[in-house]
């Protein structure tokens, strides 16, 4: 897709005015990752209540795509229940961003936040809920992300 299509008003807005930017004190889930190829960094914090995403924030450094993607993802999952988050796919993220046909290098930017989210969820399921069955499924799904 062309730059004009990628860098639409809305992406730039989320890049410059990211929603849910910041940290949560004592979050239930805190997960950080970086893209070794480009150096982008992302950290997500979540609070879980009644199997729902009660709060979510992110911080990070990176390109418009990765930051907008992270910000939009936080909006997407806020208030949603666990099952919803578990089922989120790569395609959901790209749909939500309105970005398709990104090249292999840039698609990683768009998916870094989902990778961080799924890794965080994975640890949570293993450590807190001892639900290794779901955890393993998520691990497998998210290993296909990059």
């Amino acid at each position: 897709m062309s730059s004009a299509d990628i860098y639409r008003e809305i992406i730039l807005d989320y890049y410059r005015n990211p929603r849910n930017y910041g940290k949560i004190q004592d979050p239930d889930i805190a997960q950080r990752d970086s893209n070794p190829l480009c150096g982008d960094e992302l950290e997500m914090h979540l609070n879980i209540k009644d199997d729902k995403v009660a709060d979510v924030k992110f911080t990070g450094k990176g390109c418009a795509i990765s930051q907008a993607s992270a910000s939009m993802l936080t909006e997407l999952i806020l208030g949603k229940d666990f099952e919803y988050v578990k089922k989120l796919t790569k395609e959901d993220i790209l749909d939500n961003l309105g970005l398709h046909d990104l090249g292999p290098a840039r698609i990683k930017c768009a998916l870094l936040s989902l990778k961080v989210l799924k890794s965080g969820l994975y640890s949570y399921l293993v450590d807190k809920l001892h639900d290794t069955a779901s955890a393993d499924k998520i691990k497998e799904e998210s290993s296909g992300l990059y």
Binding site: S34, P36, L37, C38, G39, G103, P104, A105, R106
Partner: protein, 414 residues
């Protein structure tokens, strides 16, 4: 020049070098395939094509050339994984060759896992690259290096392995799946089975097996596996280390530098995911991409056919050679137990002299210790002559070779 299963003529047409003359007017007979094979035009063009059309550094850039180069480089990894039947592509590490692969294991796994008085087992028919790294490691750690002996038929004496394993001190057993001197095909599955029973790790040197036999790593179930592209129609400067993911994850990095890191800070650094953790610096991009063309070529023929052709040729050559008076042939007589590598000595003609004489007739064979001096000591010779075959060799070439050996005998008045 047509056998029942592959059209050798078609194959030979893909290898332009086979049309060249040596020593002015002698058609080249290339019987030095165990050292390195020739390359089909498809491989040569894949390399040129990369440089002509999409040369770029990989992994870290977003521009179009980089994207094309990265895709092609990573596609080779998938092809390699499939070729040796490996499940996880990230277990395939590109290195310079078998030698670097084994050294990588000795450094990055060995230095963490081998301790004083541990035993490392190798065999008497190993290539130096599967001996020297273990000698260096054993010396550094105060560990012991032991050898599985070779019997008079050129096969490993597996009783020796049992003796070592029973000490309970064996940490790793490293052996070649096919001897580069005797051609012996090792009973690898049996060795892996015995090692497993004692919890010893297994490294297999596939430098001579992967080019000539169908290799299935899921069936073999070893821990480490190494081979070189240049011995299987591929370019020089590329090799593969495969290892189980759990092992690669535990291992410390080998070389440090670009691409193998996640984050570098002044005083601490974290490592990239597999396989990149072990691919520091700009890799040999063009040749990795060229290697894919070699794998395609072999897949097109089929490894079963490759093996069939070589068995037929080896049988033919062994029959003819054994009729020469004064010849001593090394290795198994049974062609189902060996590859197309034939080592021999002819009377008191020293192998170097023999190689010089047959070279004059256009025939490229190797002479010397073949980087297997421990085996030379075992055979009680200082050197052998070695002819080794590949898919493009013919019975007609074997006949030329036999005539040349007879000429050598005449020159040496034998």
């Amino acid at each position: 020049m047509q056998t029942s299963f592959i059209s050798i003529e078609n194959i030979r047409n893909d290898f332009p070098i086979l049309k060249r003359m040596v020593h002015k007017n002698k058609p080249l007979v290339y019987f030095d395939n165990a050292a390195t094979t020739q390359k089909p035009i498809q491989v040569i063009e894949a390399i040129s094509n990369y440089y002509l059309n999409y040369n770029s550094n990989i992994h870290r850039a977003v521009h179009e050339l980089a994207e094309e180069a990265t895709l092609a480089y990573e596609a080779t990894r998938d092809k390699v994984a499939k070729f040796i039947n490996v499940k996880n592509r990230e277990e395939i590490i590109f290195v310079r060759g078998t030698t670097e692969a084994i050294n990588l294991v000795a450094y990055a796994w060995g230095r963490q896992n081998i301790n004083k008085d541990d035993i490392i087992v190798t065999t008497e028919y190993e290539h130096h690259s599967n001996i020297v790294p273990w000698q260096l490691l054993a010396k550094e750690k105060g560990a012991k290096l032991e050898y599985i002996g070779v019997d008079d038929n050129g096969e490993l004496i597996l009783d020796h392995l049992d003796t070592y394993l029973k000490t309970g001190k064996v940490k790793i057993v490293a052996f070649s799946q096919m001897s580069n001197v005797l051609g012996t095909i090792t009973d690898s599955e049996e060795i892996v089975k015995r090692c497993k029973a004692y919890g010893a790790r297994v490294l297999i040197d596939g430098a001579q097996s992967v080019p000539h036999l169908k290799v299935d790593l899921q069936k073999l179930d070893c821990d480490f596996f190494a081979f070189s592209a240049h011995k299987m129609l591929g370019p020089t400067g590329v090799g593969v280390l495969w290892a189980k993911k759990e092992l690669l994850q535990e291992m410390v990095p080998f070389n440090g530098g670009g691409d193998m890191i996640r984050e570098v800070h002044k005083y601490e650094t974290t490592w990239n995911d597999l396989p990149y953790k072990f691919e520091a610096g700009t890799p040999n991009i063009a040749d990795v991409i060229g290697f894919a063309a070699a794998l395609d070529y072999l897949n097109n023929i089929g490894m079963d056919k490759v093996r069939e052709h070589e068995m037929e040729l080896t049988k033919y050559a062994l029959d003819k050679l054994s009729q020469i008076k004064g010849i001593v042939l090394y290795g198994p007589k049974d062609v189902t137990k060996r590859g197309g590598v034939i080592s021999f000595n002819l009377g008191d003609i020293h192998p170097h002299d023999l190689a010089t004489i047959v070279d004059e007739d256009g025939i490229a064979i190797r002479s010397g210790h073949h980087c297997a001096q421990v085996l030379m000591e075992r055979l009680d010779v200082s050197a052998t002559s070695r002819a080794s075959f590949y898919i493009y060799n013919t019975k007609g070439e074997v006949d030329v070779f036999i005539r040349s050996l007879n000429r050598a005998k005449e020159l040496f008045k034998l």
